[in-house]
Subunit: 120 residues, 2 copies
Amino acid sequence: MPADPLSRVFSALADPTRRDMVAQLAIGDATVSELAAPFDVSLQAVSKHLKVLEEAGLVSRSRDAQRRPVHLEAEVFDLMTKWIERYRRRAEARYRRLDDVLRSMPEEPTPTLPQEGTPS
Amino acid sequence: MPADPLSRVFSALADPTRRDMVAQLAIGDATVSELAAPFDVSLQAVSKHLKVLEEAGLVSRSRDAQRRPVHLEAEVFDLMTKWIERYRRRAEARYRRLDDVLRSMPEEPTPTLPQEGTPS
DNA sequence: TCCTTGTTCAACCAAACGGTTGACCACAGC
DNA sequence: GCTGTGGTCAACCGTTTGGTTGAACAAGGA
């Protein structure tokens, strides 16, 4: 799977069924059939979803006889939140900077350019 | 587009090209061709990516003659961070609770079951 | 007016996705 | 050993996705 980790995580959570599974697993570990119960799809489909979540690192699986308990791994969330926070912070900083600029120049007529380039 | 907002945002950011565009837009607004420059794809492909970002609410677009300046909308990020934080918090709370339980019962021999079920 | 620049629309294509069914494997219990 | 239960693997199918090319639209400049 050549996709980068961040793409895998975002992509895994882009599906509402998989997000519901994560929500369920946040309450506690569960088996495949337990996770499948609320959904109107085959067990195989659920198995596929879990594989996606596992490859994204969102979930890990152990063995208990025939059962394969699924466990939520919280660490990968950090990958996303760090990415998100970085760019949100930048965008917000940019806003603040723009505000400052606008506040600090009530009569500057545009330094280098000879005429106003931005109307309205 | 019937997909729910959260799915649209996650799905939009699941593509590395689109994440790069968001990164670029965090620095400042840009036109379509400016955004396309660093990538080895057609302008039409970039236009499609921007449409996806726009439908996810991550980006807004205005008019400036023939140009269509693209602007990053930071608010939608909150949708994601709120979802992420909710389930991460639950998972972490669960860890803490489990720790407490394990700490508070150093000699309980398994209440209801007659024999130990988990070896090693 | 025509030309150029910036962008989008439409049609197409290969690959990936989410689902299905059928066969199969792993283990517990009889 | 056989049988039942819990899950996975493999093949298939329709839809979506990310890309292409070619045509068209929108607006400024000659």
